[in-house]
């Protein structure tokens, strides 16, 4: 099958492989400790591991957009901020 019409680039392929890797890692984590570890965090809503990953990814997307649109620094700082956000979400949300 020819997928050249999808206009693949190395960075976007790496991006989707990272997402896929995260999903696989979550599946392995779920297999190792089933149930999703639901809890009520700072948002006062019950979240499972999957919810926390979703909040992390969605938040990271907006962090990157925010850095692109409103802050004039290198975009890698947005990635660093996203990692801090991920730790916060998985720890407290």
């Amino acid at each position: 099958m020819d997928f050249s019409w999808m206009a693949w680039t190395l960075p976007t392929a790496a991006f989707f492989l990272t997402i896929l890797g995260l999903l696989v890692a979550m599946a392995v984590w779920e297999y190792a400790s089933p149930g999703g570890n639901p809890r009520v965090g700072v948002l006062r809503i019950e979240t499972t591991r999957g919810d926390r990953l979703f909040i992390t990814l969605l938040g990271s997307a907006f962090i990157h957009l925010g850095f692109l649109g409103f802050v004039d620094v290198d975009l890698w700082w947005a990635t660093v901020a996203s990692l801090v956000w991920a730790v916060f979400v998985f720890r407290f949300v």
Binding site: L58, L68, G69
Partner: protein, 288 residues
């Protein structure tokens, strides 16, 4: 009791996964790929990095369309939800008028979007349209093709006409599911009409109303066909909503890179708002 796990069931989900992959995931991946490149056709692409995202986020065109869209959704919700509840409260609960009312309410929902647009375009024309000529004869200056306020009034009226029925039907379904015993108890307590609404009908309708709010918000936020047919985004760009602007950029100007970047930002906003609504709905459901 030991639960039986049959992992063969996963194979039953496979067709759905394939369908979703072809209808959503692969196109979305392609849009992401387009958003970081530039193309002049012929399947040739040039790396552009995050340039298109910066361009979209810096353009007043995008922000104006976004605020317009949010304002439109807010107006739609503020009109359609109370109006829908009011109509549902006044609909008969039994007798031959029930099916008549239900069919009348369902009619606008059955009409395709572009037909609704064409109906309202004709209806509001100042020269031959019933509504347009009537309003003009009454002494009001009305021309949806030239005046931004008139264009907004027309688009809002059209959406109210098309979609309030959905809120009515959902609210009505919530109302008819309330057992008669609740009303009897209210009568014994001597509760006023307002108290019955506030403490019996509204709480019982809460779940369906949340669905109505979610559906109406998402639909109005992604509105395209009706305003495209009636105003085409004009006059000027006064009714240029995000989706109309997006299509103009992608298909009209063939700026696929910026259009892809804008699609992703639009998609992320829709995703965020849907998640917020979904979370609010499920949390309040759990409390109920």
């Amino acid at each position: 009791m030991e639960k039986t796990f049959n992992n063969k069931a996963w194979f039953m989900v496979l067709p759905v996964l394939v369908l979703v992959a072809f209808s959503a995931v692969i196109p979305l991946m392609t849009v992401v790929n387009y958003s970081v490149q530039d193309t002049f056709g012929n399947n040739e692409f040039f790396w552009a990095g995050t340039e298109w995202f910066s361009q979209v986020l810096d353009s007043s065109r995008f922000w104006d369309a976004l605020w317009r869209n949010l304002a439109f959704s807010a107006i739609i919700l503020l009109i359609q939800i109370p109006l829908g509840i009011l109509i549902a409260l006044n609909m008969p609960r039994q007798g031959i008028w029930v099916p008549v009312c239900l069919v009348l309410m369902a009619l606008p929902l059955l009409i395709p979007w572009n037909v609704v647009g064409t109906i309202w375009q004709l209806l509001c024309r100042v020269d031959i349209g019933l509504f347009g000529s009537l309003v003009t004869k009454l002494g009001f200056s009305y021309n949806y093709a030239a005046d931004p306020v008139d264009a907004w009034i027309t688009v809002v009226l059209m959406d109210v006409w098309h979609w309030t029925s959905l809120v009515v039907l959902l609210a009505y379904a919530g109302l008819v599911s309330i057992p008669e015993a609740y009303y009897q108890a209210a009568r014994i307590d001597g509760a006023s009409r307002l108290a019955v609404f506030r403490y019996i009908q509204l709480p019982k309708m809460k779940r369906v109303l949340l669905i109505a709010v979610l559906l109406r918000f998402m639909d109005s936020f992604m509105i395209y066909t009706e305003p495209f047919v009636v105003t085409g985004g004009g006059p000027g760009s006064s009714t240029m909503f995000l989706s109309i602007d997006l299509v103009k950029m992608a298909v009209g100007q063939f700026d696929l890179g910026p259009a892809a970047a804008m699609s992703i930002i639009y998609f992320l906003i829709v995703l965020l708002l849907s998640w917020v609504f979904y979370t609010v709905m499920t949390t309040s459901d759990a409390k109920a």
